[in-house]
């Protein structure tokens, strides 16, 4: 009898442990592979979409399809700042904290847009 109880407890413990491990693994997966990437296309001196709403933890990729170089720089010039992107160059940044992030092209400052992180 004692043996069976011990066995049950052990099985339960293993099961619980297994669930806990599974739980941890799925959490790790969520952190290394964002559920959806998001893309901003740069063309004709415009960021499209101009307002992008994403979930915290999402990586955004900007791709320049214009025939002139552009940059992607947060308004405060420190949060994120790409190098000059020539045609077909790209820049990525993962937004971890919720908030509204306004940005612009530092070469053509009339080009403005924002990312809203929820």
């Amino acid at each position: 009898m004692k043996g069976k109880l011990e066995l049950r407890i052990t099985v339960a413990a293993i099961a619980l442990f297994g669930l806990a491990v599974l739980g941890k693994v799925s959490t790790i997966h969520a952190q290394t592979a964002p559920s959806t990437g998001s893309e901003v296309k740069i063309d004709n001196f415009t960021f499209a979409p101009k307002d992008l709403t994403i979930a915290a933890g999402t990586m955004v990729r900007w791709i320049n399809r214009d025939d002139i170089p552009h940059t992607v720089v947060s308004d405060d010039k420190t949060t994120f700042k790409s190098k000059a992107l020539d045609t077909d160059d790209s820049f990525s940044y993962t937004f971890t904290k919720p908030g509204t992030y306004s940005y612009f092209c530092s070469i053509h400052p009339k080009m403005t847009a924002k990312v809203i992180v929820q």
Partner: protein, 322 residues
Amino acid sequence: MKPKDNDLLLHDHNQDGVDRRGFLKCMAWAGTGALCVLSGGVLKSYSLSRLSDLPAGHAKSDFSFVQISDSHMGFNKAANPDVVGTLNTAVQKINALPVAPQFLLHTGDVSHLSKPEEFDAVDQILKSCVAKDVHYVPGEHDFIGDDGKQFLDRYGKNAKGSGWYSFDQKGVHFVGLVNVMNLKAGGLGSLGNEQLEWLEADVKHLSKSTPIVVFAHIPLWSVYPQWGWGTDDGAQALSYMKKFGSVTVLNGHIHQTMQKVEGNITFHTAASTAFPQPHPGQADSPGPMKVPAEQLRSILGITDVNFIRGKHALGIVDSNLV
């Protein structure tokens, strides 16, 4: 002469009897290859293809210089896959002018991506120019990634701050300004307080008869703000020039020639030697404008500027690269 209600026409502020409407009409012809010469207050025009017809000493100018702009060395897209070739053509044009210019003014976007090899290439090409002195101001393409460190190392040895400076030539005071540093989101070109204070002090003690030439990359006047074609604090800078009889503002950035006269100030923008851009509002964006290959050189160009002592207005002549 009755002043008309049009900001391209103005009163005869020089009192030299020059019909400014005729002068500006002549400027428009220059794009198709005419040379307008203001000499002794009389305006004459000559077709560039018949320069040999010009009477000897026609220019009678004390000196002349050439403005080039927006060479965008490194650009290689459809609008012009050969910016080296067109810059070379511009140098040939300069070397063929009836009177050799004393120096060149390059109003910026020397390079396309601020790469060392791009600056090197322009330096190399300009070596074959008859004018050996070149004065530069930066464009926004020259300040990419390093806040202009490379540009200033190369071209800003005697400059202050982000690259502003002044010099005198035969009694004309030249001022090079930088309006492409620290651009803010949604903003236009910007000079900043430090540069404005320097400028005010720099011109304060000059006599009002000193001709002034101001050169900067982005237009100092509001050409088309929607496309960033203007300078937020440009009016402040120009306010320091009110007392002078003759002020000429030379800019680049918009890759097309444009002229406007306002009181004592003549504004002029140069064509690019690399690629044209659309007229304000004529396209979705101010990007490189593709034209049939055989037309390209007719809308790229250089600007020849003649100074004639005693005459306030400088003779400004645009010619294309055909």
